[in-house]
Subunit: 117 residues, 2 copies
DNA sequence: CGAATCTATCGACGGTTGTCAATCTATATC
DNA sequence: GATATAGATTGACAACCGTCGATAGATTCG
């Protein structure tokens, strides 16, 4: 598996499916890392807030999530490392937005009866 | 959120999307439970084996997964409680199969640009 | 019944994770 | 430069999780 400079995970197999039999250990580890990032209720709410607003700065996430600042920072980092969001620093603020393509990849991984290319 | 007697998760909102802004705490917890079940490489490989074979008995999972019997039993239980697989006992064996609808629900939850009803 | 086999449960161990107070870095403002 | 603010990092703690040996339950076969 490869890893880009931002440290996000980039499986060589962009479309490995859970339904494609025996998933290799490498593929399963890459997919599991991203699903694990989705496996926390606070991170899912964070993701929904970012998706809804299009762009959100971290400071606007504290109150709706009801978590302390280091906790929110920890979650944004986890989601960013999973490639699900990206942050852009502007002045003192970091603006987060969804990586739609990454969500599509995960959807594809869950696809039943995927037509192999 | 509701929960049936088998202990499997049953969100009242079958199609709650991560993109539908602020996901309620209940919705996010239900979704997170299922994504967390998917967030382990051994369980993803297990899922792929079941999906590929259509039906697999637990005894045939030990060797390909390279895990001890209690560990495999633990993982099948986790996936079953998440509603991703179902087991049918026949004689001494338990035959596991995929719940395709559950995978579709999770794909829908990750859908970008979902059209709200 | 007794032996063998498949699965689930229990208990324990080590590693990981979510959380927050305290602290540090970077940026902006006076 | 001094002060204030947004965010990241560190360290600590409790809770959770993956793993497996031992054991128990269920079913089949002799």
């Amino acid at each position: 598996m490869t890893r880009n400079r931002a440290g996000t995970i980039e499986p060589e197999t962009c479309c490995a499916s859970v339904l494609a039999a025996p998933l290799s250990e490498g593929q399963s580890e890459d997919l599991a890392r991203v699903f694990a990032a989705l496996g926390d209720p606070v991170r899912l709410r964070l993701l929904s807030l970012v998706a809804d607003a299009g762009e959100v700065c971290s400071c606007d996430l504290l109150e709706p999530l009801g978590k302390a600042q280091p906790t929110v920072s920890h979650h944004t980092k986890t989601l960013a490392e999973a490639g699900l969001i990206v942050g852009e620093k502007r002045g003192r603020w970091v603006w987060w937005s969804i990586v739609a393509g990454r969500l599509d990849e995960m959807r594809a991984a869950l696809a039943v009866a995927e037509v192999p290319t």
